[in-house]
Amino acid sequence: MELLIQGLNRLLGQALPDWAVVLIGMAIVITLIFVLAPVIFMFLTWLLRRGIARFADRIGPNRTGLGPFNKERTRQRWPLWGLLQPVADGVKMFTKEDIIPDKGDKVLHRMAPIAAIVPAMLVFAVIPFGKELSAVDLNVGVVYVVAVSSLFTLVLLVAGWSSNNKYSLLGAMRTAAQMVSYEVPMVLSLVVPVLFARSLSLNAIVAAQAGLRWYIFYFPLGTLAFLTYFTAALAEVNHTPFDLPEADSEIVAGYITEYSGMKFALFFMGEFINQFLVCALATVLFLGGWQGPGVGIGGVLGYLLSVFWFFLKAFALYFLFVWIRATWPRLRVDQLMGFAWKRLVPITLGNVLVSGLAVVVWSLLRK
């Protein structure tokens, strides 16, 4: 955003006072985030459906989408990519009847879906999408991300409670328990890149990984941190193999059972955006963020290349999510919790300890 404000200053600096320019800059950035998030969500659903289909030897949605505008030729040329399928799904969600349970808490029921996407949007503000292209450059970026993304747990407790359905409440409590348990190994894995980069700012962590010195290649500490972060992140966003609370067999859909139409779509969107954010965070912390060949070139090309590299890595990680979703069955709740507390927490704690020692020893050796 600093870049934007400088640019705006040059354009309008004479006409408007400083605070107005900053305000215009903030408005533009907020609009960009509000446009970017749903577009990413739509692309991710498309990727999910086509990916899972291809893993199962079929094609996936291919009737709505880009193709020649001539209807006759469109009908013959069936390898359309189905890219407008998410739009069709969105239209379907809009036109569904909105049902609010009679005895539930109506205010909370209306508020929960909106509150579901707020933490996701807030985290968008600190992620560096490209060279100098983060909305806000906080010097405690990692702490901010962890704190804000854990607000989601509250939202789903509210959603489960306001449905007046004992199975929704059961599902919400289970999900909340799962998310809280997996926060611990996730945060502990995040500490390792912070130790390596000696900074909590996301931009600084990306800058420290220039030239293919990505933290995932720091064998064994960085790799282990990446693996544990990935596993804990799978559980945080309720993804297979940890999606028992939401794709369950006896409590139908968990905390989102009583939500229909656009509210369900908002929860769904919140979940997908969370998955993307987790992938983006993994990219930033372990895979070098927007670093890649060619970002050193000055001018617009350098910025564009950095954005390209960032999204390529983030979507590649999301493809890994899709791959896992197509392949593995899911764990039961007690096995899930046992896995978190009995296996992941000791491993991550040990990892942090050894990383700290390694960093100290390395800096002593350098002197």
Partner: protein, 207 residues
């Protein structure tokens, strides 16, 4: 004689089974961009074995249907003479498990019964597609068509009367040649006898 199934209790590093599963699905993903496993008549079915896209883009492509496929029953008439093969012997009506074939035999001026079906109605909506009527018919008159898309919005449209059921033999010989070849000789021989026993002009399909 008996095999005890192995329970795979031996030690394996954690994650090998998971990785093997991932590799299997990835192999399918990559090879799904290769050939397509279509069933095309005249070509080798399922050329790709386990790999390749397995779906058919309906309605542009349709998987072919074999000769013996049992759709819904139809009645046959001879192309050359226009004579219907059905003699109203009631074999199919007796054979049908659901009892949806309703036949009324025709009579001539003297009141004697002739081998001709005055009324013939099948309730398509209740048909089991079992083919017992086609097996029971000694004249090769009622056979199974290859209907695939039979949905309608009105129930009366399912009550098929004789005009809607009649098809020429050439049509059936084209869609199910092997089945027709089995019953052709008997059917043609009996048709000659049937035509002789009918009064002139009765049982002939108007073109």
């Amino acid at each position: 004689m008996t095999i005890v199934v192995p329970r795979h209790d031996e030690f394996r590093p954690f994650g090998t089974g998971l990785i093997k599963g991932l590799l299997v699905t990835m192999a399918h993903f990559i090879r799904s961009y290769g050939k397509r496993n279509l069933r095309i008549p005249g070509k080798e079915p399922f050329p790709g074995g386990r790999f390749g896209l397995f779906t058919v883009q309906y309605p542009e492509e349709r998987a072919p249907v074999p000769d013996r496929y049992r759709g819904l029953p139809i009645l046959l008439y001879d192309d050359a003479t226009g004579a219907e093969l059905c003699t109203a012997c009631m074999s199919c009506a007796r054979a049908c498990p659901v009892g949806i074939i309703h036949i009324e035999q025709g009579v001539d001026e003297a009141g004697k019964k002739i081998p001709y079906a005055q009324h013939f109605m099948i309730e398509y909506e209740s048909c089991l597609n079992c083919g017992l009527c086609a097996e029971a018919c000694p004249f090769g008159s009622i056979v199974m068509d290859h209907h695939l898309e039979t949905a309608r919005t009105d129930r009366e449209g399912f009550r098929m009367t004789k005009e809607r059921l009649l098809r020429p033999i050439s049509y059936y010989a084209q869609i199910a040649p092997t089945v027709w070849a089995e019953i052709r000789e008997e059917a043609e021989k009996r048709l000659e006898g049937t035509i002789k026993r009918r009064p002139a002009g009765v049982g002939v399909v108007r073109r």
